[in-house]
């Protein structure tokens, strides 16, 4: 049933949307591919299980997990940006990869590598219309993702903070000269990236009810593809890219095999980068000069 597959793809895409937006704000504002995002995803998804082990209800656990991911993201900011300003473009990349290894291995050391079941108290979490099955946690996740992105993009356009962040994106040096407080705005970007990626992990955990310390590696890297697909740094592009990647993945599983997903997703990415690197909704002024 094709329609069912497309619905599934869109629901899965909700997770990718959040990750892609997290990547996109780091790239768009800081010119930085933040490889700690897959780890924050794992952290969010895995910690909901950890908190539930202590007898906390599922939604306070989810909230705590997102808060934790956001807090860790702020620590990441210190060690990728604050302490190494002007250190060259590769340094934040390497440090964020360091955090990727660190966070996942701390989870591994504390809780082992086996998959854990996240048990929801809700009995039937599916919604059926005309034979179409829609998973409610996933639908809620998709709606939440789009709402958050919409709210974020409005805030970016209208608020003073948003103006400051956009000024940093334009030119960090000029922004500082004009009185933008770069030291308080950069953590804000990381905080948001942490919230988006942690939330994506939580939604993934709730949707699939299975987590492991390494879920971020495979899932969140597809979010990176989604970001590029939509246009690097474009927030609505990230939304579109996330949904497209979700659909491509589900259709690839439906018509070929689960192993084929990798070829389909990354093949699309590779072709796109070669043919049109600015992505679907990119503005063509992608900053190719800077790394």
């Amino acid at each position: 049933m094709l329609l069912q597959q497309i619905v599934n793809g869109l629901l899965l895409g909700g997770v990718y949307v959040l990750v892609a937006v997290a990547f996109s704000i780091c790239w768009g504002f800081l010119n930085f591919v933040n490889f700690s995002i897959p780890a924050l995803f794992s952290l969010g998804g895995f910690c909901i299980w950890v908190f539930m082990q202590y007898g906390i209800g599922w939604w306070p656990s989810a909230l705590l997990a997102v808060v934790l991911a956001a807090a860790v993201s702020c620590i990441v900011e210190r060690f990728t940006f604050r302490f190494q300003r002007n250190a060259g473009p590769v340094v934040p990349l390497v440090s964020s990869l360091g955090f990727l290894i660190l966070i996942e291995n701390v989870l591994l050391a504390l809780y082992g590598s086996e998959g854990r079941a996240v048990q929801l108290p809700l009995q039937d979490v599916n919604w059926r219309i005309d034979g179409l099955v829609i998973s409610l946690p996933q639908l809620g996740g998709l709606l939440l993702a789009i709402l958050l992105v919409a709210g974020f993009s409005v805030a970016l356009k209208t608020s003073k903070l948003g103006r400051g962040v956009r000024a940093i994106a334009e030119s960090p040096d000029t922004a500082v000269l004009l009185g933008v407080r770069i030291n308080s705005l950069v953590p804000l970007v990381f905080l948001l990236a942490g919230v988006f990626s942690g939330l994506a992990g939580v939604l993934f955990a709730l949707g699939y009810q299975q987590v492991s310390p390494f879920i971020g590696d495979q899932v969140a890297l597809k979010g990176l593809s989604a970001m590029v697909l939509g246009g690097m740094g474009s927030i609505w592009g990230a939304v579109l890219g996330g949904l497209v990647i979700g659909i491509v993945e589900v259709l690839a599983i439906r018509f070929w095999s689960a192993d084929f997903v990798k070829i389909a997703v990354y093949g699309v990415l590779l072709l796109l980068l070669i043919i049109k690197p600015s992505g679907l909704l990119g503005n063509g002024q992608t900053r190719q000069e800077k790394f």
Binding site: G88, V91, L97, L102, A109, D217, I263, Y266
Partner: protein, 280 residues
Amino acid sequence: MSGYVETILVMLSINVILAYAAFLPLAAGQVNLGIAGLMAIGAYASSYLGAEYAVPPGPAIAIGVLISAAVSIVIAFPILRTRDIYLALATLALGECISGIIINTEALGGAAGYSVSGYVGLPWIASCAIGVCVLVFILFRTRLGLCIVSVDDDERVADLLGIHVRAVKVAAFSMGGALAGLAGGLYAHYFSFIEGQHFTVLLSVYVVLYVLLGGAKTLIGPLAGALIFTLMPELLRAGNEWRYALFALFVIAVMAIRPHGLFMPGQPPWRRLGRSGEAR
């Protein structure tokens, strides 16, 4: 020599070769996150030749290297249209595609992996690693080495001075690919078993980290990075399952204290870091 020490020395040699495989494109300003894919091509090509056509390990690995180099050259032309972070992502996608294709190819054992018939021992692998180091050191004494560095320093100026920038870039990329193929062939013939799942993005990322941690602008950097990356988790073995976490802390600390990597001799101009006017 105990089997444990031998395995570590083999991993060290292979990691040194991989580090230089990542270093050559990096020296020309390209971040190649597809090293694992090119390594997989070398590993599978040489093993396939050994198993199907009974080619002895030496020639099989050599042909594997040639195939990796050929694939790199063919891929280099379209992929080097992109640059900087786009190139990094394109190579990442490439690596994932290659491992995806291998997992889906029945003739290569698919996801179940592939047994390798030939065997290559530590002495050969170690001498290959030493040979690679020597070759890279010699390369950077030649004109081509100088061209590679100049392309990284300033492409436009290099172009104005009559250097064929594109050719130099393709050369650096595909020499790196050839080295990755060599590492793959040696890996396959020592461990006698390969599977597509081994050649992941994470492996590529680690290899690029060797270079960046050691210092991407010096010849000694990749060697130092590979040494640290291979030996340190082993030395931290006392810390048991915490060793990779400790190791990651070390990486983060090095980047906070020495952002340009451990090795950064500043004398010759091409080794200077941080081109002026480049923020962050």
